[in-house]
């Protein structure tokens, strides 16, 4: 699967990691990185920061469409399966009802619709996030361990068209980064 192979930048550097002290610092730095036109970058926080997706300029995820298509597929599958079984493959009279008794099919149609939609949501989310991933270059950084504790990070990947090892580092420093680190691939 090509998208799993192309998930990381090629070349000697993975990118630049900048550490910020507070959510507010990170939030404002994200707005500036977004306005500077970077596209291949990310923010990392120990807890959800409200409105950060706006500050980062993230487009809406295609996940809802995946869920909708999966949900409709599941519902159609559930209904079609019962139709085929009860009205075509094994026509049995059950409690005096016609073979094609659609009300009886609704609970399973509903359940399969929900089940498939949930699969779409979970696996679609994993796929879009390129997960599971066994290792990531960011984990080489010692300071990055604090991302689950009390530090806030911006990482800009080296394959961003605007990336430049010294210039991008200076930009992040000027945005109030506590530390800036160039990471190897």
């Amino acid at each position: 699967m090509p998208f799993l192979l192309n998930q990381l930048p090629k070349g000697p550097h993975y990118g630049i990691l900048a550490e910020f002290a507070t959510p507010a610092d990170l939030y404002h730095a994200c707005e500036r990185v977004r306005d500077a036109g970077f596209t291949r970058w990310d923010a990392h926080t120990p807890f959800p920061v409200h409105g950060l997706e706006g500050a980062m300029g993230i487009r809406r995820s295609p996940l809802p469409w995946i869920v909708l298509v999966m949900g409709l597929t599941g519902a159609a599958f559930g209904f079609g399966l019962q139709w085929w079984v009860h009205a075509s493959a094994y026509p049995l009279v059950i409690s005096g009802k016609p073979y094609f008794s659609w009300p009886a099919f609704i609970p399973i149609t509903f359940e399969l619709g929900v089940l498939f939609a949930a699969f779409g949501a979970v696996f679609g989310m994993l796929g879009l996030n390129r997960l599971p991933m066994h290792h990531h270059p960011l984990f080489r950084s010692k300071v990055f361990e604090r991302v689950t504790d009390d530090a806030f990070f911006i990482s800009i990947e080296s394959w961003d068209p605007r990336f430049d090892p010294s210039g991008t580092g200076k930009l992040l420093e000027s945005l109030g980064a506590r530390s800036v680190e160039l990471l190897e691939s």
């Binding site: 920061v49 409200h50 409105g51 950060l52 409690s95």
Partner: protein, 404 residues
């Protein structure tokens, strides 16, 4: 994060209907409709009293259910300390404060009890074992006592919440909110029981042999959808009319849309579950009700409800943009309000017209009369009060609310 920068303090004059604003005319418009409707009812109803009482029952149930939905919604918000909806809470309060008016609009029905409820005809139980069995519950004196209890409980809770919330505008006392939150739990229990019994008394007993253990929830689901639809329309209209346009944001519309979407599905879930169990077991005393609604032109109404009260709005309200734009949300709300009316019409009217759908001018007249009183009462209250609970301790939170 960013929202903290736009924290606004609301001045009372920003939250009132300005003098000369067209919304000041609602009491007059409502009263005019009521007078017109009442005159038409008197004129047409004299010739056909039976039709009048049924038409009146449908319209009465429609507007009453909106008021009950408003009260439920407000109680839920207090009980779970919902912050987002504080900006629309005064609108809810205005709607449920009309419950005493609804009590007055119930009175005309008492003159036609025997026309509407076959069990109330003297001697009805004599040759009917089931009605004899149900007589200790289904008899006129107890029916009246129960109606008094329902309206007593509803009016008491409604006026308590309305008065204390209005009072808080003046005093700014935060303990009022805490007190109303404590009372919300018990009030919800009282509301659930009374509205269940009321729906059995006023709708189920139209077919006195029938029973359904889900009907109370079905009535609640319809009422709740109806009210959220009304609230969506009013909130969007307010923004359109330049009222609270800086207060009610796209985020609030979005949440109302989500509520509307969710409870449309809830209504369908409950409605189908009720039908499904009765259809599957196929016991005569249960299935008569649906049999009457799956014959002749009532079949079309049944299908219309499936598609129009669930299928179409389900897909229409699913997307994000539809819920975040005032006019698209208002279209969905108006449609569901109409469907809520069709739902009640479908519950009541087959008793009068088992042969098929027979629309009547009295349906319109009764709608105008009851609706006019409802609009006049709500419009009159709106002119006299701030359109948001100005000094609710959580108003600031609601003003800056954003969907994550």
């Amino acid at each position: 994060m960013s929202s903290e920068h736009h924290r606004v303090a609301l001045r009372p004059e920003q939250a009132m209907i300005p003098t000369g604003h067209p919304w000041n005319r609602f009491p007059v418009i409502g009263a005019a409709c009521a007078v017109l409707g009442a005159a038409a009812c008197a004129f047409l109803g004299a010739a056909n009293p039976k039709q009048f009482f049924f038409s009146w029952l449908v319209s009465f149930l429609f507007f009453l259910s909106l008021a009950l939905g408003a009260l439920f919604f407000t109680l839920f918000m207090y009980a779970c300390q919902g912050g987002w909806g504080i900006v629309v809470r005064r609108t809810c309060e205005t709607v449920f404060a009309t419950i005493p008016v609804m009590a007055a609009l119930f009175v005309p029905l008492l003159f036609g009890l025997q026309d509407v409820y076959s069990w109330s005809v003297p001697g009805a139980a004599e040759h009917d074992a089931l009605l004899r069995w149900k007589a200790p519950f289904l008899n006129v004196p107890f029916f009246l006592i129960r109606a008094t209890i329902y309206f007593g409980c509803w009016s008491f809770i409604a006026l308590l919440y309305y008065r204390l919330s209005r009072g808080q505008d003046a005093t700014g006392d935060p303990t009022v909110s805490a007190r109303l939150r404590k009372l919300a739990g018990p009030s919800i229990i009282v509301m659930a029981l009374t509205s269940t019994f009321a729906s059995v008394d006023w709708i189920v007993s139209l077919t006195p042999h029938w029973y359904s253990t889900m009907f109370g929830v079905y009535f609640f689901a319809g009422s709740f959808v109806g009210f959220i639809a009304l609230l969506s329309v009013v909130a969007a209209a307010m923004r359109g009319a330049g009222l609270l346009d800086t207060v009610i944001s796209t985020e609030h519309l979005h949440d109302l849309g989500k509520f509307l979407f969710a409870f449309t599905s809830f209504w369908a879930y409950i409605g189908f579950s009720q039908f499904f169990l009765i259809w599957y077991a196929n016991l005569p005393e249960e299935s008569i009700w649906f049999k009457a609604r799956l014959e002749g032109s009532w079949t079309i109404v049944s299908l219309l409800l499936m598609a129009g009260h669930f299928g179409v709005p389900f897909f229409y309200l699913m997307g994000r943009t539809v819920k975040r734009r005032g006019w698209t949300l208002a279209v969905g709300g108006t449609w569901l309000l109409a469907m809520h009316f069709v739902d009640l019409y479908w519950q009541v009217m087959p008793t009068l017209h088992p042969e098929g759908v027979r629309p009547s001018a009295l349906d319109v007249a009764a709608f105008l009369a009851v609706g006019g009183c409802f609009v006049a009462a709500a419009g009159w209250l709106m002119r006299r009060q701030a359109l948001v609970p100005l000094r609710d301790p959580r108003l600031a939170e609601s003003l800056v609310f954003e969907n994550a």
